[in-house]
């Protein structure tokens, strides 16, 4: 047994309202730079829908992830190592910018500098790739909320798998949002595809990063990742990907996407796993067994033997304690309501999802029946074949049994808690019917529905003696290499050897993030030390002279 710790995430899809706050804050924090305008480390896609980049789930076409050979060995779907090297000069299945979307900006200056005219001046869209005027025809969430259905939606590779007849009817009744970040896989095919060995998994917390100084721009990782979550920075010529906000995680605060999620649906915590068994589990022959295989790789942090081995492996004691409190561990292995996204890609993804019950509830509600009655819901789950099959294609390689199981638990929780909330007698047979105790059901409700901040995020900070050292790795952090971009002409190239060349990377100061955490967790309102001497000019009506408008007189100052 080789115990390793992995920082992981669970998202509770029932609560996602598709507001894209996570995407926007992530973009503001990490990818609002030249060269990555088209890049969304966090994106939210409407399902059914094509996703971003378009139809990325069609692995016949995009060749991402792993496959099993006939002899049962794991191979990159894109081909052998030799093939990978031979095709290095022109990557055969790399998505083009059009498969993501062509990023644009507006010619805002025409609005500002226009003389008085009869008609309102219009700002035209300009491509950030070519610098030419362009017609906007696609974006990272063009088919948001089923926009463009049915024409756009029917190209959804998952929908194609599920059914070919019922499409039209069911698009109108079935929709949910799927926020996606890099999965920080246990068996990352991006890393395995990188010829330079620049993509690595941090052995402390399993975060997968690209070493910006080692990346040579071979682009193989872009093909290799089945979730298409490695992006090519077309200005610096380097691959970039979600960093799980490692500078924040190291000081114990959640990622930007989680922190800002208005639905409070993201959970972050540690999972301990047995690194020796990852490859075996990923090579499980039957795709339907992959979910169970991956669950079995995780180790119970309450098991004394696991604790002993963890200590032997150098995992700090407080990390093991954090693993015991981890919401991720609870949702995956104790309540068994979280499922991995596309386990059939065999990368062992580490961002899991609680599938949404809402499609079922919505349909029941539409018929005017009590949508919180457990029997009605159970019956609906059985009869609504398409939504369940669709979820199964996303989360369990098409096996509807585990999905139905989870939906039953969620339905049971709904009914059971309604009785409690209405002051009726609780019905213990409801949790028992889905194999849970009443306590567990209540705890699960607390975690999923109330979702208190410090139960949602159980993030042990890296040890201070580690923190500095971890921060040493910030050459991985692409953002550190960026100029302020203000002067940047979008079609221009800077530096003697191209974008971003010749600059020394600035490490992100761990102190900055410590200060951020102090500010966020302190009881008092936070302000600069000389706050009492400042005036908010926005509130000042111009009358009188508020205290602090001028610095206090000191002895010896001469009056005018």
């Amino acid at each position: 047994m080789k115990v390793m710790a992995q920082m992981a995430m669970v998202m509770n899809l029932d609560k996602c309202i598709g507001c894209h706050t996570c995407s926007v804050t992530c973009k503001q924090a990490w990818t609002n730079r030249s060269g990555v305008e088209y890049v969304w480390w966090n994106n939210v896609e409407t399902r059914p829908g094509q996703g971003y980049p378009r139809t990325y789930e069609d692995q016949e076409r995009w060749q991402g992830g792993w496959r099993l050979t006939r002899t049962g060995r794991l191979r990159l779907r894109a081909g052998s190592r030799l093939k990978n090297l031979v095709t290095i000069f022109s990557s055969p299945t790399m998505p083009a910018i059009q498969d993501y979307y062509e990023p644009w900006t507006y010619d805002y200056d025409t609005l500002i500098s226009s003389p008085l005219t009869k008609h309102t001046p219009v700002a035209q869209p300009y491509s950030l790739i070519s610098g030419q005027p362009m017609k906007i025809s696609w974006s990272a969430n063009w088919d948001d909320d089923l926009g463009g259905a049915p024409n756009v939606t029917q190209n959804d590779p998952i929908l194609k798998k599920v059914s070919d007849e019922i499409k039209l009817e069911y698009e109108r009744t079935f929709m949910f949002h799927l926020p996606r970040i890099c999965e920080h896989c246990l068996n990352p095919s991006c890393a395995a595809s990188c010829p330079s060995g620049a993509i690595y998994k941090r052995s402390e917390d399993g975060i997968v990063l690209v070493d910006q100084d080692k990346c040579r721009g071979w682009r193989k990782c872009v093909t290799g990742c089945p979730y298409k979550k490695v992006y090519f920075n077309h200005k610096t010529g380097k691959a970039e990907k979600c960093t799980f906000c490692f500078p924040r995680i190291e000081v114990g605060i959640p990622t930007v996407c989680s922190e800002t999620c208005v639905g409070r649906l993201r959970y972050i915590g540690l999972v301990l796993y047995d690194a020796d068994r990852v490859l075996d589990a990923a090579s499980t022959e039957d795709e339907h067994e992959l979910l169970a295989a991956q669950r079995s790789v995780f180790l119970d942090p309450d098991d004394p033997e696991v604790q002993r081995e963890a200590e032997a492996a150098g995992i700090p004691h407080d990390w093991v304690r954090a693993a015991q409190r981890s919401p991720v561990w609870k949702l995956i292995n104790r309540y068994e309501v979280a499922l991995p996204l596309h386990p059939e890609y065999r990368t062992m993804p580490m961002v899991w999802y609680v599938p949404p019950l809402s499609p079922v509830v919505d349909q029941v509600q539409e018929t005017g029946v009590d949508a919180e009655d457990v029997d009605t819901l159970f019956a609906a789950i059985e009869s609504l074949r398409i939504p369940v099959e669709y979820l199964a294609e996303l989360f369990t390689a098409g096996d509807t049994v585990p999905v139905t199981g989870v939906l039953h638990k969620l339905a049971a929780m709904r009914s059971y808690m309604r009785d409690l909330n209405l002051g009726r007698d609780p019905r213990p047979e409801i949790p028992a019917g889905v194999g849970m105790s009443e306590e567990d059901m209540y705890e699960m409700y607390r975690l999923l529905a109330l979702a208190p901040y410090d139960e949602r995020y159980v993030i042990p900070p890296a040890h201070s003696e580690q923190a500095h050292q971890l921060e040493e790795l910030v050459t991985e952090c692409a953002v550190a290499n960026v100029d302020d971009g203000l002067e940047q002409d979008y079609a221009g190239v800077s530096g003697p050897f191209g974008e971003g060349s010749g600059e020394q990377s600035q490490p992100i100061a761990v102190e900055t993030l410590q200060a951020l955490r102090t500010r966020q967790t302190s009881d008092e309102s936070w302000g600069p030390p000389d706050k009492h001497r400042r005036v908010n000019l926005l509130n000042w009506d111009g009358q009188g002279m508020p205290r602090g408008l001028f610095p206090r007189k000191r002895k010896g100052d001469v009056d005018e």
Binding site: R81, L82, N84, L85, F89, S90, S91, M94, A96, I97, I129, S130, G131, P188, A191, A192, P195, S196, G197, Y200, K201, R202, S203, E204, Q212, D213, C215, R216, G217, W218, R219, F232, H234, K235, T236, G237, K238, E465, Q466, H468, Q469, E471, E472, L473, N481, A491, G492, V493, G495, P496, F497, G498, G500, S501, G502, E503, S505, P507, A509, V510
Partner: protein, 247 residues
């Protein structure tokens, strides 16, 4: 070295050494100063229809051209005849393989340059250094191909001339006279090629030295732990080393 004029010495002794020195120190400097800029700067994201043909043609072509140069410049004539390859056979091989490889390289290069010029985003991602490098590279390749094809009619045997001069540079046995006696196209090819080496570290050509051969052997997944033995975010300052037990 006797009988070489000052110009010959400048051209065929001083120039190669200066350029090679720039080549070596330039790479050392670039690696230290600009690891982040050390990349292929691929433009495949913008356009792949032309790239799909041009890039492999060019790269595989030039790989064979490189191997041909290793044979022609690096291996003395006496060695090949010792293993029983007659002059005639050698030339036949060199000319056919060289011409095919050179032709692929040129076609690939034409496609790539056409693409670079006509595809807007690719063109605007082209630096001035790129343009200079393309020009020099194109001239060198064209002259090289002319030399190869010229072998069919010409009677100059570069293995008795250019090759000996070239090997001499690395063995410090200098033969500027041999180059002085070579045909003009050989002289130009050699002179400009040597200049290309001087440009090399300052262009995207550095990616050649990143050819990721190690990929064939390394484990699929790379793990990296935090670096040991450092305390803060800056490297340990002199006088502040920890008193660790040194073994």
């Amino acid at each position: 070295m006797s009988g070489a004029s000052t110009l010959d010495i400048l051209l065929w002794v001083v120039w190669p050494y200066v350029c090679l020195a720039v080549f070596v120190f330039g790479h050392w400097w670039r690696y230290h100063y600009d690891k982040f800029g050390w990349t292929t700067r691929s433009s495949q994201l913008y356009e792949s229809r032309l790239l799909r043909w041009g890039s492999p043609l060019f790269h595989f072509g030039i790989l064979f051209v490189f191997l041909g140069h290793v044979m022609g410049l690096g291996v003395p004539k006496s060695w090949t005849s010792a293993v029983g390859i007659s002059d005639h056979l050698y030339h036949l091989m060199a000319i056919t393989i060289g011409a095919v490889a050179g032709f692929c390289t040129i076609v690939g290069m034409i496609i790539l340059i056409y693409r670079r010029r006509t595809v807007g985003p690719v063109f605007s991602a082209t630096t001035r250094m790129d343009k200079a490098m393309y020009l020099v590279l194109a001239v060198v390749i064209l002259l090289g191909l002319a030399n190869t094809v010229g072998q069919v009619i010409g009677e100059y045997d570069y293995r008795e001339g250019v090759s000996i001069w070239f090997r001499g540079i690395f063995r410090f046995s200098l033969h500027p006279d041999l180059m002085a006696a070579a045909p003009l196209t050989f002289q130009l090819h050699g002179f400009i090629a040597i200049f290309l080496f001087a440009m090399w570290p300052f262009t995207r050509l550095v990616h050649v030295f990143s050819a990721p051969i190690g990929y064939l052997w390394r484990p699929y997944i790379v793990y990296r732990a935090k670096p040991e033995g450092r305390l803060g975010s800056a490297p340990t300052r002199r006088g502040w080393d920890r008193s660790d037990l040194k073994r």
